[in-house]
C-alpha cells in the first residue's frame, strides 16, 4: 500500500495516499466534529466544523476536503479553530427549534454530539424562526425541515449512493433546502424509500416514524432476497422495532433497501401471525395442542407408501431447517421427493 505519514496533534499518523486529513484523524482515533461528511459520500466541506490548522496552509482548511500529504502538520483543536467552530454551531442553533424530537440526551444524534463537544455556553445571535410544513407523505419516515441544517447529506446520498436523485437542493442562500422535484410531497417523487438519507441525517429533519429506540440490537441476516444484507434488529419490549444496516461487512456495507430497512418489523409483529397449531375438523381449521397436531402429522404421514409422500422445503428457511427437512424426507419418509422453490 502506498502510505504517507503526517502529524496530527503531535502524533504521527500513517494513512494510505489519497486519504483526507479527516480520515487520517479518524483512523488515529482523534475526534474532529463534522456534520456533513460520510464515508460513503464525496468530500463536501459544507458544515465547516472540521476546520483545522495546517502548517503552511492559509486560513482554516476543512479536514474533510484536504488530502493528507506527507509531512503535513495538523492541529485539530486550537483556540482559533474551536472559536470559529463555536460560532458555526451557534449560527446553526440560532434557528434550530428548541424542542428536538431526536434529542435523547446521549450522543446518538450527530448534532447533539457536536454541540456537547464544543461546549457552547452562549447564544450571541438573533433568534430566527422557520415554519415549514412537515412532509409525512412517506409511510416510513417524515421530514421536518425546521430541523434541517442544509448539510446536503440526504441529497448527496440519493445521488452518490442510491443514484436515484429523488431530491435536490432547491433555492439558495439562507432559504436553501432539500426538496423533491417541484417541491411536491416526497412520496410523489421517484424516491424508493430506501431510507439511506434518513440514516445519514445528522439532525431530526429526517426521522423514521418509528421513534422508539431499541433496548438492544441483535446482528443477523436480512430475510428477503439473496443478497444477504447484514442487519441489526433493534428489540424493545420483546418486539422487533428497528433495522439498521451493518457497515462492517463486504455484502451490503451498511446499505439496505426499503424492505430490509422498513419491511421486517411489520410482518414479524403482525397480529395475523399463527400462534397455535390448527387441525381441520368438520371441514374447518381449528386451534389445537401441539401434541395433537404433531401426532396427527406423524401418524398420517406414516400411513402412506414411500412414493406417495413428498416434502416441500423452503428457500426462506435456514440451512439447518433445510438440512433437517431433507434428512427427514430421506431417512424417515424414505423418499427423494424433496424440493423447494429454487426455480421460482
Amino acid at each position: 500500500m502506498d502510505a504517507i505519514t503526517l502529524t496530527i496533534d503531535g502524533a504521527a499518523v500513517t494513512v494510505r495516499r489519497g486519504a483526507t486529513v479527516l480520515e487520517a484523524a479518524q483512523q488515529a482515533g482523534i475526534y474532529i466534529p463534522t456534520l456533513c461528511s460520510d464515508h460513503d459520500l464525496e468530500p463536501y466541506g459544507g458544515c465547516r466544523l472540521c476546520i483545522v490548522e495546517i502548517e503552511k496552509m492559509a486560513g482554516l482548511p476543512t479536514a474533510c476536503t484536504t488530502p493528507a500529504t506527507s509531512g503535513m502538520v495538523v492541529r485539530t483543536a486550537t483556540p482559533a479553530v474551536n472559536e470559529a467552530r463555536r460560532d458555526i454551531v451557534a449560527l446553526l442553533l440560532a434557528d434550530y427549534p428548541d424542542d428536538c424530537p431526536a434529542c435523547t440526551g446521549d450522543d446518538r444524534c450527530d448534532f447533539h454530539q457536536v454541540v456537547a463537544y464544543l461546549g457552547l455556553d452562549e447564544q450571541p445571535f438573533r433568534r430566527l424562526h422557520r415554519s415549514i410544513p412537515i412532509d409525512s407523505s412517506n409511510p416510513f419516515f417524515e421530514r421536518d425541515l425546521d430541523y434541517c441544517i442544509a448539510c446536503g447529506k440526504c441529497v448527496r446520498t440519493c445521488d452518490e449512493v442510491v443514484n436515484v436523485d429523488a431530491i435536490e437542493m432547491a433555492s439558495r442562500g439562507y432559504t436553501i433546502l432539500p426538496s423533491a422535484f417541484g417541491g411536491k410531497p416526497i412520496v410523489q417523487s421517484n424516491c424508493i424509500s430506501c431510507g439511506e438519507c434518513v440514516v445519514r441525517c445528522p439532525t431530526a429533519a429526517l426521522m423514521p416514524k418509528e421513534r422508539r429506540l431499541p433496548a438492544q440490537e441483535v446482528k443477523t441476516t436480512c430475510p428477503y432476497c439473496g443478497v444477504g444484507c447484514q442487519i441489526y434488529l433493534g428489540v424493545s419490549d420483546g418486539q422487533v422495532i428497528s433495522v439498521r444496516g451493518d457497515r462492517d461487512n463486504d455484502v451490503n456495507r451498511g446499505l439496505l433497501c426499503v424492505k430490509g430497512r422498513f419491511g421486517v418489523a411489520g410482518y414479524v409483529n403482525h397480529p395475523e401471525r399463527l400462534t397455535l397449531p390448527l387441525v381441520r375438523k368438520d371441514g374447518a381449521l381449528r386451534e389445537t395442542t401441539w401434541d395433537e397436531a404433531l401426532e396427527m402429522v406423524a401418524g398420517r404421514l406414516a400411513g402412506f407408501g414411500k412414493g406417495e409422500v413428498a416434502v416441500i422445503s423452503s428457500a426462506k428457511c435456514t440451512n439447518e431447517d433445510n438440512y433437517v427437512i431433507q434428512k427427514f424426507a430421506r431417512t424417515v419418509l424414505g423418499t427423494n421427493n424433496i424440493d423447494h422453490c429454487a426455480r421460482l
Binding site: 409511510p139 443514484n163 424508493i192 430506501c194 443477523t220 441476516t221 432476497c225 439473496g226 444477504g228 434488529l233 461487512n249 455484502v251 424492505k259 422498513f262 419491511g263 411489520g266 410482518y267 414479524v268 399463527l274 400462534t275 397455535l276 397449531p277 390448527l278 387441525v279 401441539w290 404433531l294 402429522v297 406423524a298 404421514l301 400411513g303 406417495e308 409422500v309 413428498a310 416441500i312 422445503s313 423452503s314 428457500a315 426462506k316 428457511c317 435456514t318 440451512n319 439447518e320 431447517d321 433445510n322 438440512y323 433437517v324 427437512i325 431433507q326 427427514f328 430421506r330 431417512t331 424414505g334 427423494n336 421427493n337 424433496i338 424440493d339 422453490c341 429454487a342 426455480r343 421460482l344
Partner: protein, 538 residues
C-alpha cells in the same frame, strides 16, 4: 444451475458481490437488479458512476437502462440468439481469449461450429435488435476486461433456461472472464436462502453439497452416517410433484414455508393438485393461501425468532440470530421437523441447537467442512470452505474449473414454448417490485402496501391504443390457463406486444396465467414468457 454445473462444474455465482464494482464492464441480462436485488443495484450504479461500462439486455425498460452504455431490447425468450450473436461477433473479430480457451477449456470447436447458425441476419430477425448494436455490445464486453455478467430469473425461467445459462457461460469463457476478480458469471439468487436450500440437499436428486443420490459412493456415505438405507432414484421436482398429485400418485405432502398457490405457475392446477391430496401438512408463519388448504397447520417462527444460517447468492454462509422469543407458541421449523421425525421413529434428530445441525452438515458436506456457528461469529464464510483453517473462497475456478476444464456447449435457438397467436396476441412477462417479496411477508407490512398497493399491468401505449385501454383502467388478462384482473399502467417500459406483471398480489395472481412448461434439464418453468390477451373491463 444445471447450465453452470455442466459448463463449469458448479452452479453458483463465481464471484463476490463486493468485487462487481471493480469490473470494467458489466453485462446485466435478465436481471432487473435495482428492483429485485436493490443493494447490488446500488453497487452497479455506483460502478457506472466511476467509469464501468454497462450493457443491459432486457426486453423492458428498467431503471438500469438509464445508466447503461448500451441497452439491448431483445424479444422475450430470444436470449440464446442474442448471446450467440454476441459470441459470433467476438469470434469473427478475433476478440476472443485464445490462451484461456486453449489452456482452461474444452469443446470450443463444437461451439464455433454452432455459431455458424447465428449469422447477423438471423440474430437481428430473432432478437429484434440491430446488428450494429449487438456488435458494439460484443466489442464493449470483450475489450473491457475484467467483465462481469449478472443474470437472474430473466435467464433461467424459460423452457430453454439451461441453454440460456450455458450461453452466458460460453460467453464468459470465450473472453477469459472466469476465475479472476471482478469477472465471472453471477446468477443473482432470488430468495435469501435459495443457495443454502440447494446446498443442503433440499432437492430431489442430490444430498447436501450436490452429492448425487444416484451415485452409489455418495449414497453409501450418507447411509453410513444416517444409519439407514436410502432410495437410489431421484425424486420428483416441485413442478412434477403437482402433476403427480393431480394424478393421485402423490397422496400426502409435508410443506414448509412456501405458498405455491400464489408463487408457482399455473396456480389453478397447483391448487387442484393440493386439494386432491389425502393429507397436507403446512408449516408457516401465516395462514397463507396454501395453508388454508391444509389438514394440519403448524406455526413456525420468523427469522427473528431463531438461530441458524442463510447462504447468500455469493455462497456466503451467514448467521441468523434469535432476537426475540417465538410469537405465541410457535416453534422453529427445525425443531418441529425433528419432533415429527422422532415421533415416526426417526433416528439422528436429537438436536438441541442449530449449531449441532451445522456440525453434522460440515461433517458430511465437503464444501461446508470448515463451517461452524463459532467460526461465523467473526463474519460470513464463502464456500468452498473445506476445513477449519480455510478462509473461504471468494472466487471460483481460479486455477481450474470445478469440473476440470470449462466445457463449451454448442447451442441452437429454441423459441419460447408459447408464442403470440390470434387468440393470445400478447406476451406476458413477470417480474418483481422492490417494495415486495413474493406474496406473503411484505403484504403484511402496511407501509409497503401503501407504497405499492396493487398490481399494475404494464401495457405499451401502442397496444393500449389498439385495445382502447387508458391508464388506470381495469383490465382482464387471460392465458390458456386462467385469467386475472388488475389495473393497467400505460407505459413504454414494456415493448409493444409485451405486457408485464409482478406476482406479489393475491388479488391479481399472475401465476394463474403463467406457463408451467419446464426446462427439460433444470425443470424450471417458463415464468418469463406466456401468451395472453388483455381486455378492458367495461
Amino acid at each position: 444451475m444445471a447450465g453452470l454445473a455442466t459448463t463449469f462444474g458448479s452452479g453458483a455465482m463465481t464471484n463476490s458481490i463486493s468485487d462487481i464494482g471493480g469490473a470494467r464492464c458489466i453485462l446485466a441480462i435478465g436481471t432487473n437488479t435495482t428492483e429485485a436485488h436493490p443493494v447490488i443495484g446500488f453497487g452497479v450504479k455506483s460502478a457506472v458512476r466511476k467509469g464501468t461500462k454497462l450493457i443491459v439486455a432486457n426486453p423492458r425498460y428498467i431503471e438500469l437502462c438509464q445508466f447503461a452504455d448500451i441497452w439491448l431490447r431483445h424479444r422475450p425468450g430470444s436470449d440464446v440468439a442474442l448471446l450467440m450473436g454476441i459470441m459470433r461477433v467476438i469470434v469473427d473479430e478475433g476478440l476472443l481469449d485464445r490462451a484461456f480457451i486453449e489452456e482452461r477449456c474444452e469443446n470450443f470447436d463444437a461451439l464455433e461450429q454452432s455459431l455458424t447458425g447465428f449469422d447477423m441476419d438471423f440474430v437481428e430477425r430473432t432478437t429484434g435488435v440491430l446488428g450494429e448494436q449487438i456488435a458494439e455490445a460484443a466489442r464493449m464486453y470483450a475489450t473491457n476486461s475484467p467483465a462481469a455478467i449478472l443474470y437472474s430469473m430473466g435467464i433461467t425461467q424459460h423452457s430453454h433456461g439451461t441453454d440460456n445459462v450455458m450461453a452466458v457461460a460460453n460467453l464468459a469463457m470465450l473472453t477469459g472472464n472466469v476465475g479472476k476478480p471482478s469477472a465471472g458469471v453471477n446468477p443473482l439468487r432470488g430468495h435469501n436462502n435459495v443457495q443454502g436450500a440447494c446446498d443442503m440437499g433440499a432437492l430431489p436428486d442430490v444430498y447436501p453439497g450436490y452429492q448425487r443420490v444416484a451415485d452409489p459412493q455418495a449414497r453409501a456415505k450418507f447411509e453410513a452416517a444416517w444409519g439407514c438405507k436410502l432410495d437410489p432414484s431421484p425424486g420428483l421436482t416441485l413442478t412434477e410433484l403437482f402433476g403427480a398429485a393431480r394424478r393421485g400418485e402423490v397422496k400426502a405432502v409435508y410443506l414448509v414455508g412456501e405458498n405455491p398457490v400464489l408463487t408457482d405457475p399455473d396456480a389453478r392446477h397447483v391448487r387442484e393438485a393440493l386439494e386432491s391430496l389425502e393429507f397436507l401438512a403446512v408449516q408457516d408463519v401465516f395462514l397463507t393461501e396454501t395453508a388454508r388448504l391444509a389438514d394440519v397447520v403448524l406455526p413456525g417462527v420468523s427469522f427473528a425468532e431463531k438461530d441458524g444460517t442463510f447462504t447468500n447468492t455469493e455462497r456466503r454462509v451467514q448467521r441468523v440470530r434469535k432476537a426475540i422469543e417465538p410469537v405465541g407458541s410457535s416453534r422453529p421449523d427445525w425443531r418441529l421437523t425433528c419432533d415429527i421425525a422422532r415421533k415416526m421413529g426417526g433416528r439422528g434428530f436429537d438436536f438441541s441447537h442449530p449449531r449441532q445441525i451445522m456440525d453434522e452438515v460440515a461433517s458430511l458436506t465437503p464444501s461446508y467442512g470448515g463451517i461452524s456457528h463459532d467460526r461465523l461469529e467473526a463474519g460470513g464464510l464463502q464456500w468452498p470452505c473445506p476445513n477449519k483453517e480455510h478462509p473461504g473462497t471468494s472466487i471460483l475456478h481460479t486455477e481450474r474449473f470445478t469440473r476440470g476444464k470449462g466445457r463449451f456447449v454448442p447451442l441452437e435457438y429454441k423459441p419460447p414454448a408459447e408464442t403470440a397467436d390470434e387468440n393470445y396476441p400478447l406476451l406476458l412477462t413477470t417480474g418483481r417490485s422492490q417494495y415486495h417479496f413474493h406474496a406473503t411477508l411484505t403484504r403484511k407490512v402496511s407501509g409497503l402496501n401503501a407504497l405499492k398497493p396493487e398490481e399494475l399491468v404494464e401495457v405499451n401505449p401502442v397496444d393500449a391504443l389498439m385495445l382502447g385501454i387508458s391508464e388506470g383502467d381495469r383490465v382482464r388478462v387471460t392465458s390458456r390457463r386462467g385469467e386475472v384482473t388488475a389495473r393497467a399502467m400505460v407505459t413504454d417500459a414494456s415493448p409493444a406486444g409485451v405486457v408485464s406483471m409482478t406476482f406479489h398480489f393475491s388479488e391479481s395472481p399472475a401465476n394463474l396465467l403463467t406457463n408451467p412448461s419446464l426446462d427439460p434439464v433444470a425443470k424450471i418453468p417458463e415464468l418469463k414468457v406466456c401468451a395472453v390477451r388483455v381486455e378492458k373491463i367495461a
